[in-house]
């Protein structure tokens, strides 16, 4: 294809990276695969979600892995009117900072609220999980958070019975 005198071509670069996740993020991802959200308790008394390997306040190693949520509170959000092809939902949604119950930090995730008029800071939200067989240990094993009480919210709450997600490919 030419534009004027210069050729134009579509180029694609693919980097098939995989990385080790370590014991702390590994626990978080394993939890997601199993339908649970976990954080890490820090020496300074916080619960970091998603967990880091260090206390963000002091830099010390974090301690025990603890379950949080699954419900949480929207602390801040931005509405996406026209989602792009790489974004998690194909219809308008919110990116939100969600402080899960029991956590002392907030986690960036998606709120599928239908309309910006239906969402406000301080709203309570719950995760809408992918079906257990489709979960691979990825942050989008939670398809989105939805307003608490909305239909579909928490429908897959029986996550503890999830089968291992290895059949879903990619992660182990």
């Amino acid at each position: 294809m030419a534009e004027g005198d210069a050729l134009i071509a579509a180029h694609v670069l693919d980097y098939p990276y995989s990385r080790s996740v370590g014991p702390v993020i590994g626990a978080f991802l394993t939890g997601l695969r199993d339908g649970r959200i976990v954080g890490a308790r820090t020496p300074s008394g916080g619960v970091v979600v998603p967990p880091t390997e260090y206390d963000p306040q002091t830099g010390e190693d974090v301690g025990e892995i603890v379950e949080v949520g699954p419900a949480g509170t929207v602390e801040s959000w931005a509405w996406v009117t026209t989602p792009g092809p790489k974004q998690p939902l194909d219809h308008p949604f919110a990116y939100a900072l969600i402080r899960l119950d029991g956590a002392t930090t907030s986690m960036l995730h998606v709120v599928d609220a239908g309309s910006p008029d239906a969402l406000a800071t301080g709203d309570r939200v719950v995760p809408r999980w992918k079906p257990a067989a489709d979960r691979i240990g990825h942050v989008l094993d939670i398809e989105a958070f939805v307003p608490e009480g909305a239909s579909g919210g928490g429908a897959a709450s029986g996550g503890a019975t999830a089968t291992a997600g290895s059949a879903a490919g990619g992660a182990s």
Partner: protein, 158 residues
């Protein structure tokens, strides 16, 4: 969970620019097209559209033969990610006859141990129906069997 796949996928719209587009269109016709500097007279292939010495546009297209010499070369024995060619292979700088700059090409039809600086080579093109605006139109360069060029004739291109 101990490992996580984190593939990166980048889609580009690439343009080589006007001068290199002429070079690439030449390849699609099975020929090499360079450009000459109007000030110093040097012929660049592929041309970037300007002379790096004189800083002037290289407007004049120059058809070059598909014969030249190896100025320097490397025998590649080390496998690496994304390698498209079976090792060992020879990556050489080829100076086409009439050109004043070399470019990289593969050397085949000769054992790696017999390749020499100054060796005369000729391009081997893909089949005519496989030609395209890409360096892949040149399969590789092969020895012509002609006498080697003396070192002094190409030392300024090393």
């Amino acid at each position: 969970m101990t490992m996580l796949d984190t593939p990166i996928h980048l889609e580009y719209t690439f343009t080589p620019g006007i001068a290199q587009s002429r070079f690439l269109r030449g390849l699609a016709e099975g020929r090499f097209v360079g450009q000459r500097c109007p000030v110093c007279g040097k012929v660049y292939i592929p041309s970037r559209g300007s002379c790096p010495v004189d800083g002037v546009p290289t407007g004049e297209d120059v058809a070059l033969p598909d014969t030249g010499i190896v100025t320097t070369y490397c025998v590649v024995n080390v496998p690496f990610a994304g390698q498209a060619i079976e090792i060992p292979y020879i990556a050489a700088q080829v100076l086409l006859d009439g050109a004043n700059i070399s470019f990289m090409g593969l050397i085949q039809e000769i054992p790696a141990t017999d390749v020499r600086m100054g060796m005369r080579v000729q391009a081997v093109w893909v089949e005519p129906d496989e030609l395209g605006p890409t360096l892949a139109s040149v399969k590789y360069f092969k020895p012509t069997g002609g006498p080697d060029a003396p070192y002094e004739s190409f030392e300024e291109y090393l």
